[in-house]
């Protein structure tokens, strides 16, 4: 039987409600899991979550749009978030930002054509004594200099290639 992407999302969400329950307070954890797995929360996902939690899809959208770590639009596999707050600014974040744009070939707010990277600004990451700081998904990098940008990006590419080949072996 052919399982479509939307069937898979629905099935995943149903499983998540088994873990977190169907109370409204389960909404954030469910959204966070969907975001993590699919790099976005699609209309189909929002509709399914709304149905299972017995709320209106507009309510779900309202929550998704409020939080900067939740997205309805597709994002890259790796979201790079550079701290733009004052301590990192004083430690040279502007040049790191420029190098990120140069090496990725996109501007802040954009995603690379291969869908691998999204470049964003973040506010203070709580690493102010070791700035400039950035997050790659959940991982934090500190004291980033322009010359380290290339290594960080290549590290992501390598881990993605590894992930893809592992997936192939599984099949």
């Amino acid at each position: 039987m052919l399982v479509t992407e939307s069937d898979k999302i629905r099935e995943d969400i149903r499983k998540l409600t088994e873990t977190y329950g169907r109370d409204r307070s389960a909404l954030m954890p469910i959204l966070q899991e969907v975001q993590k797995k699919y790099c976005r929360i699609s209309d189909i996902a929002m509709q399914e979550i709304a149905d299972l939690l017995s709320i209106h899809p507009v309510e779900v959208y309202g929550v998704v749009s409020f939080y900067s770590f939740l997205d309805d639009k597709p994002k890259g596999r790796f979201i790079i978030r550079l701290c733009r707050t004052i301590s990192c600014t004083m430690q040279g974040k502007a040049r790191v930002a420029k190098q990120l744009e140069n090496d990725l070939g996109v501007l802040f707010g954009q995603t690379t054509a291969d869908g691998l990277f999204t470049l964003e600004w973040a506010n203070c990451l709580g690493m102010c004594d070791q700035g400039p700081a950035l997050l790659v998904n959940d991982q934090v990098f500190t004291q980033v200099t322009p010359d380290k940008v290339h290594d960080i990006i290549e590290g992501c590419r390598r881990s993605f290639a590894q992930h893809v080949s592992q997936k192939r072996e599984e099949h």
Partner: protein, 398 residues
């Protein structure tokens, strides 16, 4: 490249046994635990400085079969990172503090609200919780005490500074947009799921555990009459030795700067973006709830820093992080940011600057929550103390 070492000075937390705190707690009556915390004079370390015992007493007195203890680990104030260090190195102390609070107010469920940016700390915290369950420090009948049931779960934030405000945090936990509520009612009586809830900062809970282990008198050896005890500071900016420090409340800014290697600073931002910018001429002022209050953020500006750039950076922060619910904050922050941009271009008249300051004062009074009330603070203090820096700039300076 991932930070492994923190440049921290020795912390008192390292010398306190979290188990001793809980053992002391179960040997006491609820009222005795509350009395010990009251005697210590402990005030909230999250920024607002509300007396912890008052909060716990209210939650204890509130009626409801189910009550909650929430640890506010949203640490989003620019320049603050001490809660991250506490959660990395002294999570057991924080859990002991939460468990003590649960005992004192009669709560059965605890939640750590961890900011999304600290997701990498979650596996470590889950380990700590699992170990505590295994040792009967969490779960049913804690330390064998009948009727003392309490467990802690972790919930994640998702990149919204305003969710550090306690009512917005509760909204977020309930699956809503993180928009602050009108108060009253207060969380101590109508909190998470409308149940009585004590929300405390990470550091507050850790100190509460220390107090219960070592006694109120031990805690009061440091600090001032109105600001008892030691406090953790997150120091960054133009200093030789940035990092996490522990000092008694009541320390002068000058002395703090000597310890961290920031003597030649021209200003220090105390309390993060929502705090105040203190010029060098006032470095003899003390950091304490009765003088310059802080949640622990100290950002130091060297002689060559452009204070307008600082103001602009902070206002951009508030424009982005305002939840948009009320007009003074939403529109006011934007107007102030526009004004700073005019100042940087050198196109702002004195008359307009006065209007901006008036708008800032209106925001302080009319905004619904602490975010909008404190958004103008940095700009107003910079305008007050650094007029020479900001007026009549030539456009090339941008």
């Amino acid at each position: 490249m991932i930070s492994s070492v923190d440049k921290t000075c020795p912390l008192t937390f390292a010398s306190v046994d979290p188990d001793a705190a809980l053992k002391a707690v179960v040997g006491k009556k609820r009222s005795e635990v509350l009395a010990e915390v009251a005697a210590s004079g402990l005030k909230g370390r999250g920024g607002a400085g509300f007396p912890t015992s008052v909060k716990w007493n209210l939650a204890a007195a509130a009626r409801g079969q189910e009550k909650f203890v929430i640890c506010n680990a949203d640490e989003g104030e620019p320049g603050t990172f001490k809660d991250r260090v506490i959660l990395s190195d002294y999570a057991d102390l924080v859990c002991a503090g939460m468990t003590a609070a649960a005992y004192a107010i009669g709560a059965t469920r605890g939640i750590i609200y961890l900011r999304g940016e600290y997701t990498y700390l979650r596996p470590h915290l889950e380990d700590v919780l699992a170990r505590r369950r295994g040792r009967s420090l969490l779960g049913p009948k804690i330390l064998g005490k009948d009727g003392f049931d309490f467990d802690i779960e972790i919930r994640m934030g998702a990149g919204a500074y305003v969710c550090g405000e306690e009512t917005a945090l509760i909204e977020s936990l309930e699956g809503n947009r993180g928009e602050p509520r009108n108060r009253p009612p207060f969380p101590v009586d109508t909190g998470f799921m409308s149940r009585p809830t004590a929300v405390n900062n990470v550091e507050t809970l850790a100190w509460a555990a220390c107090i219960l282990a070592n006694g109120a008198e031990w805690f009061k050896k440091h600090g001032t009459e109105k600001s008892t005890g030691l406090k953790l500071f997150s120091v960054s900016g133009d200093v030789e030795r940035p990092g996490v420090y522990e000092f008694p409340l009541g320390i002068t800014i000058a002395e703090l700067l000597r310890h961290v290697g920031g003597e030649n600073a021209k200003a220090a931002q105390i309390g993060g973006a929502s705090g105040h910018c203190v010029p060098a001429s006032q470095f003899e002022r003390t950091i304490a709830f009765e003088d310059v209050p802080t949640g622990g953020s100290v950002i130091v500006f060297g002689p060559d820093r452009d204070m307008l750039e600082v103001a602009e950076n902070f206002l951009e922060f508030f424009v982005e992080e305002s939840c948009g619910q009320c007009t003074p904050c939403r529109e006011g922050s934007r107007k102030l940011l526009e004004g700073v941009k005019m100042l940087r271009k050198g196109t702002c008249s004195m008359k307009y600057l006065r209007e901006l300051c008036g708008l800032g004062q209106t925001m302080q009074l009319a905004s619904k929550c602490g975010l909008g009330q404190s958004a103008p603070n940095a700009l107003l203090s910079i305008v007050e103390h650094f007029k020479d820096d900001i007026l009549g700039r030539t456009p090339q300076a941008v």
